[in-house]
């Protein structure tokens, strides 16, 4: 007898087809968000704020009320949505450039104010949509189209460790970094995403998950190799883990 082991969450738009590149982890990340909202039975009460970058297409896949923010301003717009409608579940889905470069002020201040919001940030160490330029999370030595000989300190300085910084904000209720390179890690990622929504639902403050993701196209790698890179190059710099959880002890 056949057993169903995988099911597309109901909250996907009908006939939605991913436009993400093959091997890109965005697809998995979006599905995890969808599964969490479905399990929490709150999709009908949710407003998504999409950011600029590959992440903006979220609204093409999830059948949610969605608002598109200018580059970097997702958490400002989410703040406006939530303050206007405090009973809604409001989340942002952003890339690392949006969250931690152009939008760092908005991101940090949303966390500092302890906004009851959930922010999901995809860290793929590059600007994906514009063709693989150096971003705030590009790791030292990494070659990009704007760091042709690799990220060096003289020209570019250091990458930002987002989850650790957000954990330092007093208004943050939950901050974690996860990866999607293996099935067990995908499970952990989903738990973290769920937690980041639960703290919002309980009114405990800012919930944040940084997801280490692949960008096979701009990394010029096969999906397999890209996940190897997540493990071998990214994880030593961006260590997965829960950096703050006020619901634990």
């Amino acid at each position: 007898m056949a057993t169903q082991v995988f099911k597309i969450p109901e909250i996907y738009r009908k006939n939605a087809k991913y436009t993400f590149c093959p091997g890109c982890d965005h697809g998995v990340a979006v599905r995890l968000v969808a599964e969490v909202l479905e399990e929490m039975k709150c999709a009908e009460n949710t407003i998504a704020v999409c950011s600029i970058g590959c992440s903006v297409t979220l609204y093409d896949f999830l059948n949610l009320d969605s608002l598109e923010a200018p580059h970097g301003r997702a958490l400002a717009e989410a703040t406006g949505v939530k303050r206007a409608k405090p009973d809604k579940i409001v989340f942002t889905y952003q890339g690392d450039g949006d969250f931690a470069s152009i939008g760092l002020a908005e991101s940090m201040h949303a966390a500092l104010r302890g906004e009851n919001l959930t922010a999901i940030c995809i860290n793929n160490t590059t600007y994906g949509m514009t063709g693989g330029q150096l971003g705030p999370t590009t790791i030292l030595g990494q070659v990009t189209t704007t760091s042709p000989t690799g990220r060096n300190l003289e020209y570019y300085g250091y990458p930002i460790k987002i989850a650790e910084h957000i954990a330092l904000c007093d208004g943050t209720a939950f901050s974690a970094r996860v990866s999607l390179d293996t099935v067990p890690n995908i499970r952990k990622a989903k738990q973290a995403i769920k937690k980041a929504f639960e703290v919002q639902a309980k009114g405990l403050g800012f919930g944040f998950v940084e997801i280490l993701s692949t960008c096979p196209t701009n990394w010029r790698m096969s999906p397999d190799k890209a996940h190897d890179r997540v493990r071998e190059e990214m994880m030593p710099v961006f260590k997965p883990g829960v950096y703050k959880d006020i619901t634990e002890g």
């Binding site: 949610l64 608002l67 717009e77 406006g80 206007a84 809604k88 908005e106």
Partner: protein, 355 residues
């Protein structure tokens, strides 16, 4: 002194407080702002009042954040606003461009000070271009209302919320440091406009319907063509329905003085001085800067011998007047770069020199 009341009794109040109190009475549910002189009283008043009423107030980390928070709140269908001044309104241009494309009823109070750059805190009309032509990208228009008295600060704040909702278009109340800081007696009548039903577009959760998307991103060129045509049809409608101006003594006038905002107070008296000297001077004051009363100016150009535009900047509105008059009769400029407007006597004298 801050007054918070709904009253037919006259109260003496600063322009900034009048605007803030009117916004509260208009039903503004959310205020987002960042301090800047000469409009800080608006945020100060709102910080107390909104909390007292259980409405939203956020002391934003920047004007970038403030205007985007306003967009977020407006997207849910509530009335929301921000306020700021010149160099900080510059920071908001990107979001205003988005808000026109998102078709969101953002209300922004812009209390002009001297520029460019940090400039100074004194009154100015140097942001006429900023408000009417925009600093954001793409083809768009903001509805722009220009009060000239503190009572108009109240009445046009009401109107700003109404027009923003009615046309789903960002609307700017363009005041200046003089109006913001001066006091004048006003009355606060109830919000006089009908509430606009926004249940067909506001984001409130996709319950028993498909998720709505408020966005400005149109990946296909054709889509964007269709969208812009539609947007500009809306602007045409706004021009037909909402153009507002004040006109006096233009019948049989040889010259018509055109001015807006606080400057028009002095210009009215200047026109009186000129008439006492036997010069047939009338005035025209655009109340809406977009839509601009171009048609009326065009009509007047058939009978008037000269237009004189008076403004406190290096000459901005004068271009819109020239465009309307289209070379039919001369359009002259009397201006002061920054500060309180020239005195009526000085305006009259400088106009006489032009004749």
């Amino acid at each position: 002194m801050a007054v918070d009341c709904l009253t037919d009794k006259k109260v003496l109040i600063k322009g900034n407080y009048a605007i803030a109190n009117a916004a509260v009475l208009a039903g503004c549910q959310c205020y987002f702002g960042y301090p800047i002189t000469p409009q800080s009283e608006i945020g100060e008043f709102m910080s107390g009042k909104m909390q007292e009423l259980g409405r939203a107030y956020v002391s934003a980390e920047s004007e970038l954040a403030a205007i985007n928070m306003t967009i977020g709140a407006c997207a849910t269908g509530v009335k929301a606003m921000s306020s700021s001044s010149s160099c900080a309104v510059s920071l908001m241009q990107e979001a205003l461009s988005y808000a026109t494309s998102d078709q969101l009823p953002v209300v922004l109070v812009s209390v002009m000070r001297g520029g460019p750059g940090l400039g100074n805190i004194y009154p100015s009309q140097g942001d006429y271009f900023q408000a009417t032509k925009g600093g954001g990208n793409g083809d768009y228009k903001l509805i722009v209302l220009a009060p000239s008295t503190v009572q108009e600060c109240v009445d046009l704040t009401y109107k700003a919320f109404y027009l923003a909702q009615k046309y789903r278009n960002p609307t700017v109340l363009l005041a200046d440091g003089l109006l913001g800081q001066m006091m004048e007696p006003v009355t606060f009548k109830p919000y006089p406009y009908p509430e606009i039903d926004n249940s067909d577009w506001a984001l409130d959760g996709a319950k028993e319907r498909d998720g709505r998307i408020i966005r400005s991103y149109a990946p296909l060129a054709d889509n964007q063509c269709v969208f812009l045509e539609r947007l500009y049809n809306k602007y045409k409608l706004i021009e037909e329905n909402e153009t507002e101006w004040e006109e006096k003594d233009t019948q049989g006038a040889d010259i018509v003085l055109v001015s807006f905002g606080s400057t028009s107070r002095n210009v009215k008296t200047a026109a009186k001085i000129l008439r006492l000297k036997g010069i047939k001077a009338g005035i025209l004051r655009p109340v809406t800067l977009f839509p601009f009363p171009s048609k009326r100016l065009q009509e007047l150009s058939n009978t008037v011998k000269k237009f004189v535009v008076v403004e406190v900047n290096m000459g901005q509105m004068v271009y819109d007047v020239k465009l309307a008059v289209n070379g039919k009769v001369p359009v002259e400029l009397v201006h002061k770069p920054v500060g309180a407007p020239p005195s009526p006597e000085e305006i009259a004298k400088r106009i006489e020199e032009l004749l």
